[in-house]
Amino acid sequence: MTLHDAYASASETTEGRVYSVTGGDWDSLVTEIGQTKEERVVVNMGPQHPSTHGVLRLVLELEGETITEARAGIGYLHTGIEKNTEYRTWTQGVTFVTRMDYLAPIFNETAYCLGVEKLLGITNDIPERASQIRVLMMELNRISSHMVALGTGALELGALSPMIFAFREREKVLDVFEMVSGLRMNMAYVRPGGVAQDLPKGAVAKIRETVKELRHNFKDNEKLLVGNTIWMMRTKGIGYLDLAGCTTLGITGPVLRSAGMPWDLRKTDPYCGYENYEFDVITTDTCDVYGRFLIRMQELEQSLRIIEQACDKLDKSEGQPVMVADKKIAWPSQLSVGSDGMGNSLEHIREIMGTSMESLIHHFKLVTEGFRVPAGQVYAAVESPRGETGVHLVSDGGTRPYRVHFREPSFNNLQATSAMAEGGMIADVIGAVASIDPVMGGVDR
């Protein structure tokens, strides 16, 4: 039997016979492949495949159901963010970089801002309250990101309910983001020198309530998956990568910690005052998908602990500034919500438009031209949900970056796909990739 679909017919190429599959023709395809003598089959999984975590393309060489070679093809979501930032001011850069790893925008922003602040030499001048808010937002973001990792990871392996629960919790976190920054994703909330605006009234109380709810609701997923026989059969011993493999591949984050290495930049190289918070670094020694899953589950509780401590600190620092005092760097106004949406606060508009010409000039200069950053290069890194998000910044002394490079953990960790998948079954490659938790926006930038 041969295929007669005009869009999915088989054709001969120099590499062998190529079959296109459209979805409804599995039976005829299997029959036809069964008739060929070729043992080795190359399957293109993705880039449009529900289980590849976005536009990831996996080229799998199979012998039966065993993978003999796995290669990842990326670049389908390349947007040239790094190049774009070279054409905007240092502050505008935040708006670009927040869109890289779209599940962890606050981490991109914070890493970038820590870099800019290091270049400016104002790292120690950042107000405490700004750092506290950054920590709060990062840990909330870690929860929302891990929720997607767990939910979609489970979904891809065929467990549907965890995804419903995970996204339910994620919504709660996004509600907090909306309350604090006005946006649910891509907030551009962390700015060089501090944060865009202070927490709104009643935010801390609302966050405390959310923490309580989350802690209670996380149990739903725990009950569903931890110790679940089917889940463990799909994840235990799958996607094996030991410590030696992790270090040579430069793997960081939960994948490294699943190899037993308690490496967490929040502990080893604290930033934003993480040394003042009590939390544990979670590790397992199983080197497999199940271990990484357990790590993410337990990191949720650690994040909640940090958020609670941040709330206590924020209660005490109420009313303190959230932007660096240096007027030549600090954004001239705080944002506020008006009748026409979010924008510069009304008092600020009154001042620059009605009373002070100098304020207007200052505002105009800083907003259109931006501040100058002394020439040099720095590397700053934060522990994102996926590992070390590093930013390498080069300044030529101007008002715009000379070069912005993100060392994305997704990009780097995705290289481990081959090591994790080769020699395993084709069904397990899904679990292996899900345990790396790559976000293609970050991989391709």
Partner: protein, 212 residues
């Protein structure tokens, strides 16, 4: 340093007032003198001890903003990397990738490759920097030293045109395989390429209409 080209963003300093009073002094890019401070002296000492050709391999040492940068000659990059990884007292077992930077005005040193290194054993970070001329953009690949550099080197080739000799498969990684040019270079305009769609070609935005 060079100017960006293309239609996007402001040109010049972006100073629209003509005042431009926010000038800060540029950092000194000369070689730093000892003592370097922090653990940097120890790293330099240990590397000198483990690597007799140190003075020949290292062009200059820069300590700036609490970070140590070793400028290495490209012929010695591989050896230096091996020493940094394998010497017990150094143990830079993780390389956090390669980042290209294009300095078109830096004659015969136009393309720089920057390697941030991390020692988990000692919790230390340093940076290696290598420069190559645009006319001969060859560097030894460090994939053998740190396997994780594979994709990073492909990205640096894709974006800057730096050729890593000995790389197991140096192909484009983010741009399409048949893409002409290396987009992150300073002489490559932002949004400056014609768009081909369904057989028709739309000129680059910068060619369509003059906004300046």
């Amino acid at each position: 340093m060079s100017k960006n080209i293309g239609m996007f963003g402001a040109s010049g300093s972006g100073d629209t007032s003509g005042f431009g009073g926010l000038v800060r002094s540029a950092a000194n890019f000369g070689s730093s003198e000892r003592p370097y401070g922090s653990y940097f002296d120890e790293v330099a000492d240990e590397l000198e001890r483990a690597y007799p050709e140190f003075s020949d391999a290292i062009e200059k040492v820069i300590v700036d903003r609490g970070e140590l940068t070793l400028h290495v000659k490209r012929e010695k990059l591989f050896e230096t990397a091996m020493k940094l990884r394998d010497t017990q007292s150094l143990r830079f077992e993780v390389c956090l990738g390669v980042n290209g930077v294009h300095y078109p005005e830096d004659k015969d040193r136009e393309l720089h490759a920057v390697y941030p290194l991390l020692s988990m054993t000692h919790n230390r970070r340093i940076r290696l920097e290598v420069s190559v001329p645009d006319s001969d953009p060859h560097l030894p690949s460090l994939v053998e030293v740190w396997a994780g550099n594979n994709w990073h080197e492909r990205e640096a080739w894709d974006m800057f045109g730096i050729i890593f000799d000995g790389h197991p498969g140096l192909t484009r990684i983010l741009m399409p395989d048949d893409w002409p040019g290396h987009p992150q270079r300073k002489d490559y305009p932002l949004g400056g390429i014609p768009i081909e769609y369904k057989g028709a070609t739309v000129p680059a935005p910068s060619e369509r209409r003059s906004y300046r």
